[in-house]
Symmetry: C2
Subunit: 758 residues, 2 copies
């Protein structure tokens, strides 16, 4: 029998966990039951800014089945979160609508919720701060008194010389854009089970995306030494950044478990998920941009504010990513950025897919469109003129080793029929206009060194039957990393997928990894697997060569067999080779380990430095129809050209683009968490409008394979990219169709209609 | 701060899992619940030898809540077990009382059991074979027709020249001993959950003691490729060998899970545990033994039969271990052994702590006592005269590198006041006699190479907080291996116990290990951990030396700190050193792996060879009072001197001796599975008499530390040894007290009384 040499890289493979998920067998946190487990419920405030005067928990405590009721006074209420300005329970004052006042542990979830509803809280209301403008006004009440200001952070970035840039400019445009509150809408709502064992060691069944950091931080918040904490991740029903930080329900579960000496589970219902999980913050961005008559960009000047809400989570750090778009999306010699992250009594912001880049790219790509208009140039030509080439380093120090921006632009334009459609806005219906618009994006594609290690470890174990256990530090949050990593191992070791088991959900077993963020898993964990697998491959080929009296270089591993490399002739079953190694004279088994650290660096004080080992590019072209009478925007077609270095799993990569584009379309057209006087007034899928299947346009996907020199097989990250430039492409198409300015998202019928009326 | 150098080896440490077990939080198979799980029940036959004519399952199938009813016709009924003569369900005939006819899966256990009771089976009875004698009679019906005999196996062993031995003998004794049916009485009854995932991969939640072999064999029995099987061990409530083989309920659960496409759990109640878990088989041993006038042993000739019951499990192979006692317990130049393992329609036998050695040692040590009587020598002196010295190799090829038999004899005699008490059988009550008796034993203490690898793998991972995950191939079945292995890691790496997590229950994670048998875990897994830890230690000391600008040999690791070796001055926290290695320029983490293979060999065709890397010895002295009017034997004191090479965990080793002695006392005095016409008539703790706390005598434990050259820190295995020579020590004491022969166990009041009456 012969097996032909055939690479798996770039082929399409269904997600390994798809059958489990599709058949309803995957075990989500909602499905998990531990012996003796109690259920927790949290009473949240109904005020947005108030002092807590008194809490009466007596009725809750009397309810049969209630095992514990805790308030801030009952626990060591350690400040936490990125700004260390949040606490698990609130003792003195509340700062936003979701604030946690008390928590109950009871025999059932319904008893716990009933008990929480019996708790009475007396408040002294404080004047609420409901906007950034109000927060910055002189004499505004302080949300966190000890900060002595409502400005949580300011960010200043520049390269080049803004004044010089202005002097070189023949045209200058300026506009202010307003981006809305949105939220992740994970289908799996948040949840946790906290369980102490009899030794006092804590196991957290969690949906965190960053288990190693989570463990470290929960240790500090909960007062348990980190070496006594184990984190086991349940199947995660969507992350998108929402599970990157710790939120109050998590330490609350630990406090309830400690208090009751029983495992405690807290799971959000859908309304809680809307109210009490993080958001992508509303952002106001003023952008000025200049260009020479020939289209060469000269400068960008950006001023923006983030509405940070009541507390500081990762949302406050998104300017780190925003400045990459401002500084490095197209070649711009002079950039100056000023950003403020401002406290209000609105809901607070976490990480969300794209991490500020959706807002920044919307501003940049809208300003490019304005410049094209001013210059009377085709927007594609303008972009091509300013697109970087491979080998360039941007003003921020970002090294573009493999850069496919030009090819993305050209590919998207060609596949969408850009030039032809750009000249045609009329349709056969007089009150309906067509438009075509484009936008590009730059995003990290090889991790982001924001910690001093951005690495990932892998342990590989091949058993006597050539079953590979692939233990990776990385986590599966639905993005398909298990499948990509299994594919890489299969590629190196010539295994079938059914021979591979990926283990990635237990901090006691998995090596360190910084977590799922910055589109890093394929690149970082992929390299880690590849290098661990190469070591195993070497050992296997050497053992096979010994047993077959051959030379390792004359052999290959294919589909679970050892074959002659030259012609694929099957020489031995791989399992048999392993058993001979194990049970023969050598008595050896195959276990390897590799920790991969990318060659990136941390930024300096001025935010300069090559923070990622690779950068991904994309251009998306949107084609729309706009009904001038109703304001309804219909996206007809979306062309997405993505430079992801090299495709590993085509089906998975396409899925990522499809999902990202749909998320981007929601951001463009319909999604908005409506916050009125600090309260979320649309906490349900009836009122918070996601894009659903019938509204998804044809999505034409093209991958630009630039072959990154460091990435596994040349691959770069894909995860966040597809969501980033969809909204500006759509907005530019709507502008093209109608001539309107459209400075705010989402482009709901109401907003489009009223803009067109002006 | 300074930390003194202090070895943990030989100190006492409570079992790491004791708090979980003692507080009722340990998760046994009984406690486990999976989503969608069904419960299985098995209908067993009420005949001992019969053809199955018809099975009517219709009433069971109609019962609401029943999801599947299967018979042998519904499954691929693959033969299995050591003799491949058993099947999951019986289609043609039944051969013993426990035989499995049908199985039911239902929504609850009670529905499943109710349904099983509704099944009607029609039989043609066959003549039952109820004893070995009957089985061997000419023309006896065949239990397995295809074997054409009722003899399952014969064993012939010899060394030296029996005739020469006879010629050299001045005295010869002969006696026949009858050893009873007993069973393990694990407090945790047998159980399994079988669950297929949506990919068709099978997870077995099991109580097996040998997960690697179990997985291989279940694959074959159940028709699932081994690379698609994962075995997760629940907390095991006692093994003692009963979980060394696969028994029919296990493949039955898999067949029910496949049939229903849902997880299926089968758990035994106590009566089933008595009826359908394995036994230690009844054995009849005729032993002739000779000695010279000066006491030098000349020969032993042994004929024995095992009642193997209806099928062949591991019990049939216990002669391998029996012959070690026959050939090598004391120096005997000429040995000849003939053994037969014979099928009957009685319950069948598995492995049980000591693995035939209890029976063999009872015979040998009873014959030694007879020889002492014949020679008029003190039994201690006779044993000392024939005790081997270190460095000897026995006639079977057993290499006694570290041999403490002489010291065990002397220690036990001295601590028990042997010489004084030996001269005194009268008490102040005229009808009560005192006696003192002794017995020794030899048992493997460094594994047993019955497979071509007898090794064990370890993966160690130290995280950023110096938490060690110790992944071992070995399994915890209550014997305390977790604690010993953690202790070895703590010793090498200077860690506290709370920094160590032992993972040992998941075949997807743990490296290969042959399983818990042959008293091998401390020796084999211990060496594996020690060597993996030494590699980690080297890496840690090198990193610490780099960071502290010191030399590795000037540093030591103690209690989670890096100290100056010379004076114990604390120089750094170990976690900090690891973090510096991880987050400093090197970006390395600490993961090591070691697979340890002992330097033992497989036996040759004549059963000769050094099958274990070490051998353990012991001498136990029992002091008894016998009431001549009632036959009641009361054990007053038990002195146990055990050569275990070196003590690792003193508390654990003492616990093993205490548990073993109590098991041995049960074998000596009260335990017997009463089988009448093939039926077990005492399947409950009311009628099967275990030794309980009030009957446990003072147990004086002395460890003889001979420092084995290969064992970890000099240690040898302990697990089985303490149970092995208790019964002959007690019997010899009763003989001393009364002058009776006592050729059968247990020494119940009835038996003692009737013997004394003769």
């Amino acid at each position: 029998m012969r097996i032909a040499k055939q690479s798996l890289i770039g082929k399409s493979f269904p997600k390994l966990d798809a059958p489990e998920r599709a058949s309803g067998r995957a075990v989500y946190i909602q499905d998990m039951v531990l012996p003796r487990m109690l259920h927790g419920a949290i009473l949240r405030t109904d005020r947005v800014h108030a002092r807590i005067v008194a809490i009466d928990t007596s009725a809750a405590e009397r309810l049969p089945g209630v095992q514990a009721v805790i308030t801030a006074n009952d626990i060591d209420n350690v400040p936490f979160g990125h700004g260390k300005d949040n606490t698990p329970l609130k003792g003195d004052k509340v700062r936003c609508i979701r604030d946690e006042i008390t928590a109950v542990a009871a025999e059932t979830e319904s008893i716990a919720r009933e008990a929480a509803a019996l708790i009475r809280v007396e408040y002294d209301d404080l004047p609420p701060i409901l906007s950034v403008e109000q927060a910055l006004r002189g004499g505004a009440p302080l949300i966190h008194e000890h900060k002595q200001t409502n400005v949580a952070f300011t960010y200043e970035y520049s390269h080049g010389d803004l004044a010089a840039g202005e002097r070189e400019s023949d045209v200058v445009v300026q506009e202010t854009y307003r981006l809305p509150y949105v939220t992740h809408c994970c289908l799996g709502t948040s949840g946790i089970i906290a369980a102490f064992d009899a030794r006092g060691h804590l196991t957290l069944y969690s949906v965190t995306q960053v288990p190693a950091l989570y463990r470290r931080d929960m240790a500090q918040i909960c007062g348990v030494p980190p070496e006594r904490i184990r984190v086991i991740q349940a199947t995660i029903g969507g992350g998108f950044g929402s599970k990157l930080d710790i939120y109050p329900y998590e330490p609350i579960a630990v406090h309830l478990a400690r208090r009751t000496n029983r495992p405690v589970k807290i799971v959000f219902n859908r309304q809680e998920e809307f109210v009490a999980s993080p958001t992508r913050q509303p952002t106001e961005i003023r952008i000025r941009a200049g260009a020479k008559r020939d289209g060469t960009f000269t400068f960008r000047e950006i001023d923006f504010t983030h509405d940070n809400g009541g507390y500081t989570s990762w949302g406050a750090t998104t300017p780190f990513v925003m400045m990459q778009a401002f500084s490095s999306l197209y070649r711009v010699p002079h950039v100056s950025m000023h950003g403020k992250v401002v406290h209000t009594n609105n809901p607070y912001a976490g990480a969300m897919r794209g991490y500020g880049n959706l807002q920044a790219t919307f501003a940049v790509e809208s300003s490019v469109e304005l410049l094209a208009g001013e210059l009377g140039t085709d927007p594609l030509e303008l972009r091509l003129r300013n697109a970087q080439e491979p080998g360039e380093t941007t003003g921020q120090g970002i090294g573009l080793r493999a850069c496919g921006l030009r090819e993305c632009l050209e590919t998207a334009a060609k596949r969408s029929g850009w030039h032809q459609k750009r000249n045609q806005t009329a349709t056969d219906r007089p009150r309906v206009r067509r438009g075509i618009g484009m936008a590009s994006m730059l995003h990290v594609g090889g991790g982001a060194k924001i910690y001093r290690s951005d690495g990932c470890g892998t342990i590989l174990r091949l058993d006597d039957f050539a079953r590979l256990t692939l233990i990776t530090g990385s986590s599966e949050i639905g993005q398909g990393s298990e499948t990509v990593l299994a594919q890489i191992a299969a590629e190196e070791l010539g295994l079938r997928f059914d021979q591979i088991q990926v283990l990635n959900n237990d901090t006691d077993v998995k090596p360190w990894d910084v977590g799922v963020h910055a589109s890093r898993t394929t690149f970082i964990a992929g390299n880690s697997v590849r290098l661990a697998a190469r070591e195993a491959r070497k050992k296997l080929l050497s053992a096979a060569a010994d047993q077959l009296r051959s030379a390792p270089e004359e052999l290959d591993l294919r589909a679970g067999k050892v074959v002659r490399d030259a012609d694929g002739e099957v020489l031995a079953d791989l399992g048999k080779v392993i058993r001979s190694l194990h049970f023969g004279g050598k008595n050896e088994v195959v276990v390897t380990h590799h920790y991969y650290e990318p060659p990136s660096v941390m930024q300096d004080q001025g935010y300069k430095g090559d923070v990622s080992a690779a950068y991904a590019f994309a251009t998306q072209v949107a084609e729309v129809e706009v009904d001038l009478d109703t304001g309804v925007v219909k996206v007809l077609r979306l062309t997405a050209a993505h430079d992801i270095g090299r495709v590993i799993n085509r089906l998975g990569a396409e899925g990522q683009v499809q999902g990202g584009v749909v998320m981007g379309l929601g951001y463009a057209l319909s999604e908005e968490l409506q916050v009125e006087r600090g309260r979320i007034v649309n906490p349900s899928f009836r009122e918070y409008k996601l894009i659903t299947s019938p509204e998804v346009p044809e999505i034409d996907i093209a991958f630009v394979e630039t072959i990154d020199p460091e990435g596994p097989y040349g691959a770069k990250g894909i995860a966040e990219a597809p969501a980033i430039c969809t909204a500006p492409a759509v907005a530019n198409a709507v502008r093209h169709a109608t001539g309107g300015r459209f400075t705010a998202l989402p482009l709901t019928p109401e907003r489009v209609f009223s803009e067109l009326k002006q």
